[in-house]
């Protein structure tokens, strides 16, 4: 039994450092996708609330579609369609085919899925802002992006925090799906280890424990961050 655990230690034959590298890749992909999702979510939420009707309807369609289709299917679809479009574009411009597999594509794909969920959270958070606050800001002569950055964003942050923390946890879990298209993140590394040593249970349980630690730490940190963004709010809530 103890001999089995040598497989995941940090010696030359051990998979320990490979798994940690996979975890690092998972965290990088998740963080990147979170930032992309944050940006898409903010833009789409603003468009849903303020843009002319056809554009707002288009944005609602994006949210509905991306929340109704399984993430795994979206990842496959965006990977293959994306790589095909990119390659035909490259071919037209006279370059050779490009290999799209890799962290960057994973970040974009997960970010697009993430953006759909984030936009709904931001829309609700923006709508929760008392309108008087916006009017007050206008009365002070603010407008456009300045108003958004100085007034809308800080006031809506506490309303959006809990939802975004949940999304981050979901994102870490969804990032495991990327292993299906062959990016060497944590689950993919575990799969390789399991396949080559035939100790499936050991590798998958180890990887699961690593994901679990990440979610536990995330929960703890997001709880603290939430208290911090809420600090100006009346306690009565």
């Amino acid at each position: 039994m103890p001999a089995m655990f040598e497989l995941i230690d940090f010696s030359e034959q051990g998979w320990g450092s490979a798994l940690l590298k996979g975890l690092w890749m998972t965290l990088q992909i998740s963080a990147g996708a979170f930032v992309v999702g944050l940006f898409i979510g903010l833009v789409v939420a603003c468009l849903k609330l303020n843009a002319p009707k056809p554009i707002a309807a288009l944005m609602r369609g994006y949210t509905t579609l991306f929340r109704a289709v399984p993430e795994l299917l979206l990842i496959l679809l965006l990977y293959y369609v994306g790589s095909m479009l990119l390659n035909s574009l490259m071919a037209r411009m006279g370059y050779g085919a490009m290999d799209v597999s890799g962290p960057l594509a994973a970040i974009l794909v997960l970010g697009l899925v993430q953006g759909a969920y984030a936009s709904e959270i931001f829309r609700a958070a923006i709508q929760a802002i008392p309108f008087g606050q916006i009017e007050a800001a206008r009365a002070f002569g603010q407008s456009g992006f300045g108003l958004f950055r100085r007034v809308t964003l800080p006031i809506m942050a506490p309303y959006a925090m809990a939802g975004m923390a949940n999304l981050w946890i979901n994102l870490i879990k969804d990032s495991a799906l990327i292993s299906v298209v062959g990016t060497n993140e944590l689950l993919y590394t575990a799969k390789q280890g399991a396949g080559s040593t035939r100790h499936y249970l050991l590798f998958y349980l180890t990887a699961a424990a690593m994901y679990y630690v990440v979610t536990l730490v995330s929960n703890y940190l997001s709880g603290r961050l939430e208290r911090r963004t809420r600090r100006w709010m009346p306690l009565a809530e």
């Binding site: 399984p70 795994l72 299917l73 293959y80 946890i169 249970l201 998958y204």
Partner: protein, 232 residues
Amino acid sequence: MIPAWIVEYAALLGRGLQTSITLLLFASAFGFLLAVLVALARISKNKVIAKASLFYTSVFRGTPLLIQIYIFYYGLGSLFAQFPLIRGSFLWPYLRDGYWYIVFALVLSVGAYVGEVIRGGLLAVPKGEMEAASAFGMTPRQSLLRVRLPRAMRLLLPTLAGETVMLLKSTALASTIAVIDLLGAANVVRAQTLQVYQPLLLVAGVYVCLTFLIEALFAFAERRGTPLRRAV
């Protein structure tokens, strides 16, 4: 008008759809039962039971479903295969098939996610109604089944609709362990016809339709109310 490959593979895609739907039904039915037990354990006065159930929900909600599926299918599956006793038993044909591993994984996952939801619902039922139930001479078990659970369900219908849609999307993970569900069927068609993404688009459309169907069913249930409510 309809592309030839859809006609040719209609039977396969139909079977895939059937597999996805039965997965959804099995997992939601058994998962719901487990979820009620988990919720009751979570609010139990017995500290050990409450802690154990908290740990279960935390682990199953804190790790990716895909890795749970791998643990059951590859991990337990390869473990089972080592015992001749299990290999020889009448259960082996079932233990070899990825389908039941997916059902098992989905049931456990639904138990954890929906268990948390139901716990919230049970805690949201006003205390006075529980007291009224026991004043009518109901045993704790009767008041749970006749008053507390139905009330909680009514409060939770919109949330449960969301959870069911999540479950539908989770069933697509069946394709990763060679179960031919809707997505699995699309992958077979892709491999055989060399079409890169058209089959994926088709099944994406089917998933969207199924989502709307689930939402419509729950909206209908919400409008109609529970039978108890109508009797009044």
